[in-house]
Symmetry: C2
Subunit: 463 residues, 2 copies
């Protein structure tokens, strides 16, 4: 009996799913390249020490470690046992697991930039579309093996990069037919400024974690959680005043006025406001498409505890699908410091492909082509007919038409059923009569319509 399974949290992708996923990947890849980003691929395996300590204590636990091969060496037996006991104690030790599976694309990218620092020309614009692995508990929409899609510009402080990345979101979602996405923007410097003017800098990390939940628990929930922290009443009220301030679809003068007035005491806060102001202004000036209408300044956007230090982005799916974030990113000051090369700033974005897939499935946005693999099935009516079919198919393929010959000479019924199951739209039937007259019957399997065509006509049809 067949009892084969695949590991929890992993997936096989059959033909139609691969075609749908490639539709998404190809559009993202194409737009990245139109903006001057270059492809990079790093191995699935990294040295364990490259990854450990980069994702916080919780992250470390979710890294898949690979057992060294050749452990059955009696000379190293005792050391291996000692190493293993440390692992059982929850300690990280690379002795018997020197390698691990990559957990995200950012750290391997940082490792690559540090390793190749002398050879790269900056600004370095790279994109990377590859799988990553996390030993998370699998659940709906959360996998242990999944693709990330990142684009980063490093080695440049210019806001022009941030602006171009916002355009990339716009272009990708337009091409994917998800034009009614929202692009939420905030700036980590504004968040820092708010903490400063409210006098709660010591609680910054805690507060950011709470604010980050706005999406899930709403602004009222956030305020309730903030009230639980031991914050002085006056400070708390000031803090809440920021999160109660309703920002507008597009940055308007009232917002700028509010922020400038209320962040006056914080240099970094004011710098954040200026960056946002410049960012919006640059987009307003250059916008030939309709990015402006998608932008929302959202003071509650925090992007977790990540290493961001400037503008942060979050792309949201259309509200009707209730899927939430379909992409995010932001600006950071130091990509490679952890790898011994300090002072490389950058800005990056990523696309959440699994969620984008769900949005497109729900809204039926995949084009008809993704359902069609083979375009023409040649029926098998005998040896001489098949030999003729083989020759004809070579001509069709030279024209880019995807075709195949049913390999066995079986009842037509069975061949029709195969075409139907495979969703092949056309059949070519060559019997002894057609073989003799050097033509073929072309049948449209959707409409049932059929016509007798010579070779040239067969080659000129739009399949």
């Amino acid at each position: 009996m067949n009892k084969s399974t695949i590991p929890q949290g992993t997936r096989d992708f059959g033909p139609e799913t691969v075609r749908k996923r490639n539709h998404i990947f190809n559009i993202i890849r194409n737009i990245f390249e139109l903006y001057g980003f270059q492809p990079l691929e790093t191995p699935a395996l990294e040295n364990l020490e490259t990854l450990m300590g980069k994702y916080g204590e919780e992250g470390d636990k979710l890294i898949f470690k690979i057992l060294n091969n050749g452990l059955d060496n009696p000379a190293k037996y005792d050391q291996a046992k000692a190493d293993f006991e440390k692992i059982l104690e929850g300690k990280n030790v690379k002795g018997i697991t020197e390698r691990a599976l990559k957990y995200d694309l950012t750290i391997p990218f940082a490792r690559y930039v540090a390793m190749n620092y002398g050879q790269l020309s900056f600004p370095f614009k790279r994109y990377q579309i590859q799988p990553v692995w996390r030993a998370d508990r699998p659940q709906k929409g959360r996998y242990r093996e999944f693709y990330q899609c990142d684009a980063d510009v490093v080695g440049s402080h210019s806001l022009l990069n941030d602006v171009e990345l916002a355009y990339i979101y716009n272009d990708v979602f337009k091409k994917l037919l998800i034009p009614d996405f929202k692009l939420q923007i905030n700036n980590r410097k504004i968040l820092k400024g708010i903490m400063q003017v409210c006098g709660v800098e010591d609680l910054e990390k805690k507060i950011i974690v709470i604010i980050d939940k706005t999406d899930k628990i709403g602004i009222d929930g956030v305020i309730k959680e903030l009230e639980k922290e031991k914050i002085d009443a006056e400070k708390l009220q000031k803090l809440i005043s920021f999160y109660n301030f309703k920002t507008q679809t597009f940055l308007n003068e009232a917002t700028i006025f509010f922020l400038k007035e209320n962040l006056a005491g914080s240099d970094i806060g004011i710098k954040g406001v200026q960056e946002i102001e410049n960012f919006f202004e640059m987009i307003k000036q250059s916008d030939v498409s309709d990015l402006t209408s998608k932008l929302h300044l959202d003071l509650t956007l925090a992007r977790g505890l990540e290493y961001y230090t400037g503008i942060i982005f979050e792309a949201k799916a259309p509200e009707k699908v209730k899927i939430g974030s379909i992409g995010g990113g932001g600006r950071y000051d130091d990509l490679t410091g952890l790898f011994g090369v300090p002072g490389i700033p950058g800005v990056g974005i990523s696309f959440g492909v699994d969620r984008i897939y769900d949005v497109m499935e729900e809204l039926k946005l995949f084009p008809a082509e993704v359902h069609i693999g083979t375009q023409v099935l040649f029926f098998n009516l005998g040896e001489a007919e098949s030999s003729y079919a083989l020759r004809l198919m070579q001509d069709l393929r030279n024209q880019g038409i995807r075709c195949e010959l049913y390999p066995e000479q079986v009842k037509l019924d069975k061949q029709f059923k195969y075409a139907e199951k495979r969703n092949i739209p056309y059949a070519v039937i060559i019997g002894s009569k057609e073989l003799e007259e050097k033509n073929a019957v072309l049948k449209n399997l959707k409409t049932g319509e059929q016509q007798v065509l010579d070779k040239d006509k067969l080659l000129s049809i739009q399949y």
Copy 2:
């Protein structure tokens, strides 16, 4: 200091390498699809038990096993220690390593077919282009993480499939501009027949291993090694007579006559000859391209100890590059028996992408496009100019032109140097004069030639 490294036997692929590899992958993928093959992707991770025991004892040792996460559970401490000790003794135990990295694409494909048997329609034609991992000792041309490119038809005995796969080799290598490859053919049934008529069936495996070395040690070396085996002198001489028989470029009557006469005592041998005869005949009848001239019947072709039972293929690089095999495959009787679904025959081929890459590098066969990422660099001459550039670039991108703006306003020197290093062929320079007159200077960076163009002209250039 930066001391980052990547694991031995793995590679980073920078922009140009990715473009070159994608050139190869895209051609292979496109041809597979023209022949009706459908894409399949299986996870990197498989359950350890899916893989163990499928690749022989040596293969088992080369499988990368993944340490379970959450081992720091005191309740399971003793069991984990016992499991680890078994690993130290060289035994396979899945207790603490339930998952492993896939070692090839065939076993995961077999597992997929077995798991989804009821849903698939047969014949099932799938292709798969994915990385695999092996804990082999790294050396020139041998990696621990590398891509395989496979296409298989399962659920059909028809030789038409074998013929179509031979055409795929021809089409792919033609498109890659490696038309002077050779396609060596043999049939496992002929090998079996030879063993039978020579009365050395008991030594079949040993002899196949020796014959398989013909490429490395030559026919004389093979004969020398055969002589070392304790084979009866008369039997040995008969065996050697087969391997001394010179086959012709294309199967001719003399070869068929020789084989039929000398394999007369073996039913399976004669069946193999008939299959080869039919195969060559079908290709001769249907060949509109020039596959016929590439085919070589080679009685020394054995394809190791794999599970093949019919026709076997090996594609060889042009002799001048001394790279040897760039692809191989064959027919088998039973893909999924090990997974509880017996009786599914098939035939498959694969391409050795790393070696094909080396052939193309050596013969300089990559097209010029692979060297070019961004086509046009917009120079940065100030804020207003950049804002105008941003707008212009959106128009260029809508026409499919890959362009980027240098993000910092620095000396032109530095911007030229960036274009040069990145191999960008064109620059657009917009100064205050051009901004005012709403035009731009387009400079061909190879020839130095430059012209002043308005927006429409800029959009109509062939970059």
